[in-house]
Symmetry: C2
Subunit: 324 residues, 2 copies
């Protein structure tokens, strides 16, 4: 097999990796996700990022064995479409992303769910390698989950893994999804930022927004949270502790149901806060773990920021095998 391309399509950025025959990253590129326009404009940027990364690997995109895309929204690989990707501009309906990219790049395109391909990447090449069953938890703007059972992805009827919407408190905090008490309502960066803004608006003392401005940001990014924690900011510390407690509760509930061998923690906040916070999440799981004499391994994602793109490139190998 030759080179394959992997695309991690996020609400903020498009990350591309080109993988060589040996599984090594031969090229990569990154572009901001368009904030205006529609699916066509996003597809145009993806194709551009693929060309950049392929050039770094010394090839044309038409020489790729295939291209895999990990996408948010409702992904239908059979039809080649992505629908209802709320975080992407003008992408409420269904769009034939495969057709657009195949035309622009001249290589066959496979589609997968963003969180599931990141979980598969950790399973095949990252922290999940030693295990046959795995729960991937991606702690970022929201909290996404991916499941591998007995060596195979479990996606249910296409909507499995919504660990962010496992309830941690009946009638609890309002979630971005409109429901109450979801884990994401406590642990998602978007919910945490909304709460921090309300608290700061009421006069509570915090350096969060000062750091945000100093760094030229308009949002409380993972880096902003991390810096505020380093400075001992009490509001940041309280909100992160609350998030960790919710993560511990929701992951333990999931483990009581699934009994997997390992949990891998990734996502923007997870990767940024790193091992010390993986340890805290592990501790926060213990009070709710039914089989607490045999907790699962809880590990930091090993592939970092490139995990999503590498996972997407693995879709190519599977598509080639399916065609054979």
């Amino acid at each position: 097999m030759g080179h394959s391309g992997g695309v991690d399509l996020g609400g903020t950025k498009i990350q591309v990796a080109i993988l060589g025959d040996d599984g090594e990253v031969a090229g990569q590129s990154r572009r901001p996700t368009p904030t205006a326009g529609g699916p066509k404009d996003v597809a145009h940027e993806i194709a551009g990022a693929l060309r950049d990364a392929a050039a770094e690997a010394g090839i044309k995109t038409s020489a790729l064995e295939g291209i895999g895309v990990g996408s948010p929204g409702k992904v239908d690989d059979e039809a080649g479409t992505v629908a209802g990707a709320k975080n992407l501009p003008g992408w409420g309906g269904s769009y034939d992303l495969r057709h657009a990219l195949e035309k622009a790049c001249g290589a066959p395109v496979s589609l997968g769910n963003d969180v599931q391909v990141a979980t598969d990447a950790e399973f095949e090449l990252g922290s999940g390698q030693p295990y046959r069953s795995l729960l991937g938890v991606f702690w970022g703007t929201g909290v996404g989950g991916g499941i591998v059972l007995d060596g195979r992805p479990w996606i249910g009827r296409d909507a499995a893994g919504e660990i962010g919407h496992v309830v941690v408190r009946q009638n609890g905090a309002l979630c971005g999804c409109g429901r109450r008490g979801c884990m994401e309502a406590y642990a998602g960066r978007a919910s945490m930022e909304a709460r921090a803004r309300r608290r700061a608006g009421r006069g509570e003392n915090t350096v969060l927004f000062k750091i945000m401005e100093e760094r030229g940001r308009t949002r409380l990014t993972s880096g902003v949270w991390s810096r505020a924690l380093d400075k001992g900011d009490p509001l940041a510390r309280r909100l992160i502790e609350r998030a960790v407690r919710a993560l511990g509760t929701g992951i333990a509930s999931s483990q009581n149901l699934l009994d997997v061998e390992a949990v891998v923690i990734g996502g923007g906040l997870g990767l940024r806060l790193g091992e010390p916070y993986v340890e805290r999440i592990r501790d926060a799981m213990m009070p709710h773990l039914f089989d607490d004499e045999r907790p699962p391994v809880v590990a930091l994602a090993a592939l970092g920021d490139l995990g999503g793109a590498i996972g997407a490139s693995l879709l190519v190998k599977k598509a080639v095998a399916a065609r054979a």
Copy 2:
């Protein structure tokens, strides 16, 4: 294949079914589970119940193709042992149940988890038949869960399916397991009875204990709850509503993670309260269901009280296939 025996080993009763070649129930028997003694005494009663049921089917136990046992506690089919079955007398340690029953009955014995075999029975012969993925929820003294994914039982590292210990409220009610906020702490009959006793002790008005005494019971059985609801008892109604809300929340959380096609509701209380309460559980799931445009089918268990024993008998077929 000839006749096979199935044993549902519960804390209250031992239920046995003999299944004919055609899958029809050819004989059955029931004995109370010993409340004193140890595993040997329990095994003795199981063997007796098997002899009774086999006699009803017109055969000896030694003529059985095999015997399957669905057991609580830690079941190790490879070793033939059951350990830590808290609801059975003197069964804290490990006991070689296979050896005891094979010696007493003269037929090969297979062991399985009680809740998982009941789920498998609903999957193969009951309400789950039309589906490939299934969550079984057994609402009784506790709340047990069994999982079938892509046509196969998912048992994790042997401890999957503990849906009763999915958290519905951080820092919530104390559960029989010693943890806080588990679904079972609100919905398990044991927790509900403890709460009813406290409330009645504080002078709250209820017919629950009057009905219990009239029926010659020492516990609030499913029948007692059902009769109290029929009489419009306000305490019974409130506690059952609270249980239904917890079930809805915990099952919806599980569905957000697993995205199965169907949920089957069984167990003593589930079967006794029947379809109207399945409907209420379905409604209680909706506010927490992430993919609420496509809720799973929620159905009452079809095999009733015999589900566990029938499911255990299915272990025989699998053991025969594995030997071949």
